[in-house]
Structures are given as C-alpha cells and as structure tokens.
Symmetry: C2
Amino acid sequence: MAQKPSIPKGTRDFSPVEVAKRNYIFSTIKTNFEKFGFQPIETPSFENSETLMGKYGEEGDRLIFKILNSGNFFYNKKSKIEIPESIEELQINSAETISIEQRIELNKFTGKISEKALRYDLTVPFARYVVQHQNEIEFPFKRYQIQPVWRADNPQKGRFREFFQCDADVVGSNSLWQEVELAQLYDSVFSQLGLNGVTIKINNRKILSGIAEVIGASDKLIDFTVALDKLDKIGEEGVKKEMLEKGISESAIEKVQPLFSFTGTISEKITKLGDLLASSEEGMKGVEELLFICDNVNEIGLQTATLDLDVTLARGLNYYTGAIFEVSAPKEVKMGSIGGGGRYDDLTGIFGLKNMSGVGISFGLDRIALVIEELGLFPETVTETSKALFLNFGLEEAKYAMKAVAKLRQVGIKVEMYPDATKIGKQFQHADKRGIPFAVIVGEEEMRNNQFGIKNLASGEQEKVDFEVLLNKLQENK
Amino acid sequence: MAQKPSIPKGTRDFSPVEVAKRNYIFSTIKTNFEKFGFQPIETPSFENSETLMGKYGEEGDRLIFKILNSGNFFYNKKSKIEIPESIEELQINSAETISIEQRIELNKFTGKISEKALRYDLTVPFARYVVQHQNEIEFPFKRYQIQPVWRADNPQKGRFREFFQCDADVVGSNSLWQEVELAQLYDSVFSQLGLNGVTIKINNRKILSGIAEVIGASDKLIDFTVALDKLDKIGEEGVKKEMLEKGISESAIEKVQPLFSFTGTISEKITKLGDLLASSEEGMKGVEELLFICDNVNEIGLQTATLDLDVTLARGLNYYTGAIFEVSAPKEVKMGSIGGGGRYDDLTGIFGLKNMSGVGISFGLDRIALVIEELGLFPETVTETSKALFLNFGLEEAKYAMKAVAKLRQVGIKVEMYPDATKIGKQFQHADKRGIPFAVIVGEEEMRNNQFGIKNLASGEQEKVDFEVLLNKLQENK
C-alpha cells in the first residue's frame, strides 16, 4: 500500500489531547448523572435489524448502517442465498430509476445477506433493554448510557457518521418532579463545566396540540409546529406564508398572532397561554404541567443556567407527548442546541410493553466540546501527561533511574524514563514537545551521591535533591 | 412485535451492576497506563475495508464484519451495481461447494456493496493511525487504547462477537527497557486490582527461531512451535508425536529433549538455553534479550506478580519478532491467559512506514472480570448507587425535600427523591431493592421543625436531624 492510509468519511481519529478533552466532558456528565441517581447500562453496538427498522421513519431506516451476515456472507455455510432474478435485470445506475416494486424485491435480498444493524440512537436500544429485562429491573428505572451511535448521513461540519450520545432517562413514572430534576441536571453539568449562561428552553407537546385545537387545525398539527419552529430563522412573515401554503386558514393564523411576539417572564408567558388555550382541555393540561415544572425549578433555583419557555420549540414531535427540552449555548457562541429531550408516554410500546412513560435528556458531546474550546474553558490539567521525564544517560544510570521511577509510580505519580540513551538534547526536546514539566537528570555524580537532578523545563531552574524531596516536588501538583 | 425482543448472538447487554464492575477494571487499567506515561487515542469503529483485509490471515478476513454501503446500498445514488452473472448461476447452498474462482467473483461483488468493516483488533488501526499521523506524533509514542472490537467468531462461553480490548503499545524505539516496563505495568495493574499471584510468562521469538535452527528445522519453525506450545495440554509424548507427523526428524527432536523438562529459576533456565543455543547467532541474541529483561525486572522488583520464562510460549508467532508475553491467572482459578503481548519489529510496514519497532501488551477484560468475580475481589463501593432516598409524602413535603436534595447534590452527594407520592412501604422497598443505605423522611412534623428523619435501612436505626447533620452523615462514606 503506497498511498497513505485514510479513514472512512464522517469518522474521526482522536489524538491524546482530543481524547483527554472529551473524557473531561464525559466524566463531568457521568459524575452528575450519578449524583442524580442515574445508573449506567450498555447495549451492543449492533442490534437485530428488526429491532431498529421502522422506528425512525423512512429517512431513518435509510440511514441505518447494515452489517453483512457472518463477516463474509458468501462464506456462511448456513445461508442459502438465492439472488432474485429481478436484481440481475435491473441495471441499477441511479436510485431514482428504481421503482418501489424493485426496491421491495431488492430489500428481500438485503434481508438475506444482512440481519444486524449498527445502533442509530440510544433510545430504541434502551426501550428494547427495558422490555427484555423487565423482570430484573426495579422501576422507576433511572438509566444513563454513554455510547457511540452510527448514521449513514452525509457528513458535514459538525455532523459525523460515528458520534457519541450521552442520554439520561427515567422510565416507569409520570411524576413531573423528573422534569424538574432534568432541568437541574442540565444546570448542574454545565455549571460544573464552567459553561455559564446556557438557556434551558422548555415547551410541552400538549401546548402545541392545544394551539392547533383552538385554531381548528388539529389535523395540521405537524405542519403547524414545523412552520412555527422556524420563527427564529424565517421570521413572522415567513412562518405565516408557510402556514398558508400548508392549508392553514388566515383566520386560524390570526388567532395565534400572540405567539409571534411572545415575550415576558415565564409566568407572564404561561398566563398568556392560559388565556389562549382556555377552551382546550389538552392545552390547559400542558399549561398546568409547565406551571408545575417552571415554578419548582425557579423556587429551588438553578446555579448558572436560565430556564425559558419557548412555544416554538417542537423537536421530535412525533415522539414526545409532554415536556420538550432544548438547551442553547451562551449567546456569545454561535452554535445550535447543545442538548435536548422530553417526555414520551409510551416508550416501550413498540416492543409490546404498554403504559411505560419515559422522560429523558441528551447531551451533545461534540458541540459542547466545540463551545468549551471556543470559550477556553478546558482546565489546563486536563491535557497534562507525565509529571517528569527521567533522562537516559546509559545502562547503569538507567538502572538507577528506573528504580526511582518504579517507586514514584507506586505512589501514583506519572513519570517516564526516555527508553534510549540518545543525545541529551533530543531527550530534552522530547520532554518539551510532550509538555512534560520536569526533567530528572541522573548522571554518575548523582548516582554516587544518591541524588537526582531535577530541572523545571519552564523556568530552567535546576537543583540536586534526594529521593524524598524529588517525590514531594512531583507530588505537589499531582 | 409480540415476541420479546432479543439481541444478536455473541453480544451482551450490561446491567448497572455489570457496568460498574467493568468500569472499575477499565479505570484501574487506565490509571496505570497513564502512570506509565501512555496516552489515549481513539480510532473509528469502522475502517476502510482495505485497511483491515489481508492483515489477519485468511481466517481473520472471514471473521471481519463488513458493513453495507451507505446504510442501504440499493438506495445509494452513486453506486453502479452490476451483479456478476456467475452469482446468479451459483446455487450456493454450502461454502464448501464454492470454488476459489467463484469466491473471487463473489468477493468482487462484496467489494461493490461494502467498503467498510468493523475493527477486528486495536493493533492494525493503531498502525494505520501512526502512519497517517506520523508528522504530528512525537516518537517514541506510548499510546493506549480501550475500545470494543468485533469478530464474526462462533460464540462460546467467554468468547463474544463484541468485546473490549485494552492495549498499551510503544512505537519508535528498540529499547528493551520497554519490555521491562511492560512487565511492571502488568504487575502494577493486577496488584492494584488485588489480584495477587499472577504469573507473567515471557519468551522470545529469537529463542524459538534459534532452537529450530540448531535442530536443523528452521523451515518448520511454525509447525515446531505450534507443537511445543501444546506441551501443557498434550504432554511430552503428544508433542513429539505431532512433531514427527509434521516431518521433524527424530534426531532433531532428540536435541530439544531438555525443553520437555525445563525447570529451575529464570537464571538457570537462561543458562540452559545459552548452552543449547550456543551455535545460533539469533538464538544467542534472544538469550541476551531475555537476560536483560529478566535481570532488570527482578532487580527492580515486582509487587505481587511472578516473572517466569516459558520456552513453549509462542502466541501470535507470525507477528512477534522479539519478546513474547502472556499472563496467567492465579493458580486457584481455572482460566486461560488474562493478558498477552510482545515485540513486533515492523508494526507500520504494512502501511508503508518502515523501521518502526513496536512493543505492547493487552489486558483481557472479560476474563479478568470473571477472575475478580470468582475470587470476590470487587470492592463493595464499586456497585454503590445513591446514598439516600428521600421519601415522597406529597406535594409540599416533596418541595421541601427537593430543596435539600439539590443542596446535597451541589456538594457532590448522590441522592434521590422517589418521584411519586405512593405508599411509603413501596418506597422503602424501592430503596431496599436498589441497595440504597439510607431513607430520608420528611413529613409535616419534620417540615415544621426544619428537620429530616434519617433511617439506616440496614440497622433500622432512625433519628431526626437538621440539615447540617444530615449532610455530614451522608458525606461520611461518600
């Protein structure tokens, strides 16, 4: 292979510095998940295709990575592959020339050579887990899961084919205290990361249904909310135009006029919603839920985040049945949402277990990392590697050094010896390039006096010390 | 879906307790990797097929999981799939009926519908990483990597289709100090896990080549070592029989007679090897290397592990060029090797970067977990969840409780409130089943007196305390 090797598009290698920074975020999220009583589970990277297919809509099915049977399906002794004649005749040059009937024929073939698929998100595997292990689980079950997912999406800036999701969900209780806690959990994570000033936006599916109901457009709920969701991007006139195009009447749009300039405190907004939705039972249920959540979040208080009610928020509408959350980064950073979630009343119904309400939130690791990088919030210690590099002056010196190295490691101090007795300049350079703060010098004289030379590579300061002092110096900022 | 959902064979779900135990081992390994100066990298779960294929032998190629193009290859607009006529005619019922020519034809087809494959191990992706990023890397490069790998192996007890590898490798130096450090690293990890009494077995590829050379069977090196490797299992007579069958002469076998009862201290064994291999330059180089490594490991000392020389050790012979390591669990546990590794002189040659020597070791996570479980070495704290469950007596009580819960979490204490105001017995039961040690009781009286009832669920002891005392009690064993 003469060409330099590469990796598939949409995937990434992570260097030591990148891993360290990502682990810092993972670890902060994990600590907070556990502080809030969530417990970790892990599911396999691939599931049976039937577990995943049909759960994410037509578009989702298309984006699921499918795995060929048994590594190499043509070698699989058990598989009796009969390739449909129709495939042979197809002359497939472009997806657009394939008819629906042909696709069905082709997909039968796919089913024969592929029965497994890579995880597309963590929610469906979690639902599958809950149903499969329902007899071992003590409900309400607060689980968190931090694992990669894969999507055959077209890669773009900030959009990858392999990326981590960090999800916390509770299943088995309808209590709105959980929504209160999830807002606190967002606040707790972002505060600990030093990412002050995030906005936790909240809405409720029932509010959206209620609005559609009172304006007589219940049958156009999706069109209505999709249009309303674009208010930030295309403005009031744009939204109205889209609604008209979708067949929502002018008089209906007239009724939702208050939503286009929906300002004020949360309490003021909720009062306005109460007026607007007075005639809708479902809408008023949404108002009541919002009131409980917002009141309690505000009464208990958040550390650095702000809670706000955003009636245009509609993410994943097909899915959520109650609260909807989305977190936006501090205003000084241009970035989409860095987290989101909501309540889904029938999480496990798709796998035959009814009446299991779930509510959960997700953290967008990649975007959070970009924001923290941009704001310079990574602590310096995050990327710190070894505390000292012992220079290698030759066989006897190395033996002497390695004994000290072993003792320092036993008390947990990260130290290294340069493996080869090459030019000392090169060894200093190595420490420098690696960002190692101290060099330890062991020459004949130091050995004779049972000492160690220690050099601070930033200040150039150098002294000879015995082992105990060396240990203390290196331990100081361990 | 009426049937209870399941997961693909050879894969596993991990419950909270299992994740906690596994994370304890991962975290111990990781801490020690970093103490020894290794830095983490991560590579994508799937690589371009050409990166992986042909690197693990014919058997390996067959076990690599391949991914269909773009989620659903028949939808891919760019792919121009022409199915070879020969496939249609094949009537494939069994792999054994497929000729080599047919396989080649079929694999052309595979190449069109699949260009990516799941990682089979961490070594080849690491070699690819080093070559691809050679200009950013400061050598010698000590990297560790803890990620899952996938193999389409037939699942068995303890053999899975998805499992984690934990690898530490150094690339870019021939220094034998690295072998010394890797033995220490094994000792350090297993000592910290409390897994005392492991044996780190060491051998050297040059010793094996030397033996084959002095007995005049250099052309049969693989057959010779494969047979010798079975000494434990099939005994001296079995090994001799296999060697004869493979065409190794009786006089040659006669010459290696000392190996069949190769006992004594490491020094004694090395001396014997020196006698046996005196006429082989390569063999004597192996003796010299073993001597350096064993002398220094023993002089610096190990904490709880024992180093032993095992001339029958041959794992991954095609691969290793110098030291070979394998770790066996303490004798009281029946378990195969729990770790292994070695020196490979030309790690990155397959990707066009010559003269990069590598040496590394791997930890067998699943087996280590089994051993630690069997010996009861998991610390109790590993599976500890929340410290206290606040019981829910109703809306006002819950509000009061949640304020305390928020404050406790802010100082890092793991606490929860039961989300619903259900029967108190049920709530106590929940704490019990979850293994939560304290219940906190907030009724009307406690609220009035600004107090909290705290009950130790193991002892049944109960008292009323103010917030500061509550905090201290819960923090004690945080």
